[in-house]
């Protein structure tokens, strides 16, 4: 038996449509054989490993404005699907208003991989471990989707259905992700536990974000997203509700961390056991809350 350590990509046809309409129509015509791709950082690996065998790869980069990153002081941030993660990290508006997004992108693989990797691709790949998904969830991301029936928007919180499964239908192409304006005094943190300090997939990823909120009983609202500990990227809503009702502080953070560990349903795999993951969710949630709390403006 020979083992090919360097499998070439299997055969397929590369298609570069001129417009979104053309791309979408092609995807509808070949629902089981055609697959859209952006940077290819997940798709190519999965093809080499034999998990997927598309007959057509549809290059949806560079289509109709999907390469723009723009900020509107009234509406918020729009990141085109084709904008790579290094551009997000380097963007002054992201650094000023959405530093959590930059922090999440920086935790992904390596610089040269991030030249190709995109947030939209990370979201559509729908891995529970997706590093940028937590930040997009807590920042209330909304996807712009182009489909056969025209353009629509979908909140990210309803988008994930299982590992690799989303609400996207055949012919749908994500063209951008939008974020509303962030409240004053907000701060967050992405704490990622990998097998090494940089570049690995997450064993556990915890995103925490909070801001002063006069409507919350505690005076502050928090949002928490958990990666790699459930079939889908998870918003820990029970924990968020607990935090909005209890004044922030060491004991409340500890209890919130315990609730976060109880809210997730991790599995055993090569990167870590379920028991370890739960313990790490508890530790990282507490640390994340403490870190976010340092940055949040006091009421």
């Amino acid at each position: 038996m020979t083992i090919d350590a360097h499998p070439a990509l299997p055969e397929f046809d590369y298609i570069r449509p001129a417009t979104l309409v053309e791309a979408s129509q092609f995807l509808v015509r070949y629902p089981d054989e055609a697959r859209p791709f952006l940077g290819g950082t997940d798709v190519f690996v999965r093809m080499r490993d034999g998990f997927i065998k598309p007959k057509y790869l549809i290059d949806v980069k560079n289509l109709d404005g999907t390469n723009d990153l723009s900020f509107d002081p009234q509406k918020g941030l729009t990141i085109g699907a084709g904008v790579n993660m290094n551009r997000v990290i380097a963007s002054p508006v992201v650094q000023t208003h959405y530093p959590l997004l930059a922090e999440a992108c920086r935790s992904v693989a390596s610089y040269q991989l991030r030249t190709r990797a995109t947030i939209a691709g990370n979201i559509c790949n729908a891995s529970p471990a997706g590093d940028t998904i937590g930040a997009c969830l807590v920042l209330d991301g909304v996807l712009d989707i182009y489909g056969v029936d025209g353009a629509r928007q979908e909140a990210l919180v309803n988008f994930f259905k299982g590992p690799g499964k989303t609400t996207l239908k055949s012919g749908d192409i994500v063209t951008a992700i939008r974020f509303p304006l962030v409240p004053k005094g907000a701060a967050g943190a992405y704490l990622k536990l990998g097998r090494n300090k940089l570049s690995d997939l997450s064993i556990v990823g915890v995103t925490v974000w909070g801001y002063p909120d006069a409507k919350a009983a505690s005076g502050y609202s928090f949002r928490i997203a958990l990666a790699s500990v459930a079939p889908v990227p998870l918003r820990a809503e029970k924990v968020e509700a607990y935090l909005s009702g209890h004044t922030p502080g060491a004991e409340v953070f500890q209890e919130a961390a315990r609730l976060a560990a109880a809210a997730c349903s991790p599995i055993d795999d090569v990167r870590g056991s379920a028991r370890y993951r739960k313990a790490m969710v508890r530790n990282l949630t507490r640390k994340g809350l403490e870190k976010a709390w340092e940055g949040i403006s006091r009421q």
């Binding site: 046809d13 040269q112 190709r116 940089l198």
Partner: protein, 162 residues
């Protein structure tokens, strides 16, 4: 499988190449253009041995389709030296002993060059972060990091006319 005719600039010279859809940039460089300085390590975007610059930014060439590079500018390790004068990072990696088996070196040089282009005076943390996608199993990295430091210093000295 469709064959695409693409035109691109590699190390400053224009090339026309016929590439099947599934050919990677890495395969095209090595197998069609005999530019074997770029190495094939993992074919999964993890080891960085195949790093080249695509339109001025480093990429894992095993994770880019050749056909996507139509009209692009590619710089490989073969294009780093100009008129037989080594790039400062090539000089310093030799001076510091940052090469042992050499397999990771072309990718390291490209990643380091890209870092120095975007940040001429990087900190040690910057260097470590920029090289996180380039695995080296021989050197232990310290001499490579030192080489990038020194290249940065030499470059800044040259720029200030010392």
């Amino acid at each position: 499988m469709t064959i695409h005719r693409i035109t691109l600039t590699i190390n400053g010279s224009s090339e026309q190449v016929d590439v099947p859809s599934n050919l990677t940039l890495l395969q095209m460089l090595r197998e069609k253009l005999a530019l074997t300085g770029t190495k094939n390590g993992c074919m999964a975007g993890e080891c960085g041995a195949c790093t080249v610059m695509l339109n001025g930014e480093p990429v894992n060439s095993c994770m880019v389709l050749a056909v996507e590079c139509d009209g692009a500018e590619v710089l490989t390790v073969e294009g780093l030296a100009k008129d037989s004068v080594l790039d400062p990072i090539q000089e310093t990696i030799i001076d510091q002993g940052g090469v042992q088996c050499g397999f990771c070196t072309p990718g390291i040089l490209i990643s380091a060059r890209a870092l120095l282009d975007r940040k001429p005076n990087p900190s040690e943390a910057d260097i470590r972060e920029a090289l996180v996608g380039n695995l080296c199993r021989c050197t232990g990295y310290l001499r490579i990091i030192e080489a990038v430091h020194e290249a940065s210093e030499r470059q800044l000295q040259t720029a200030s006319g010392d």
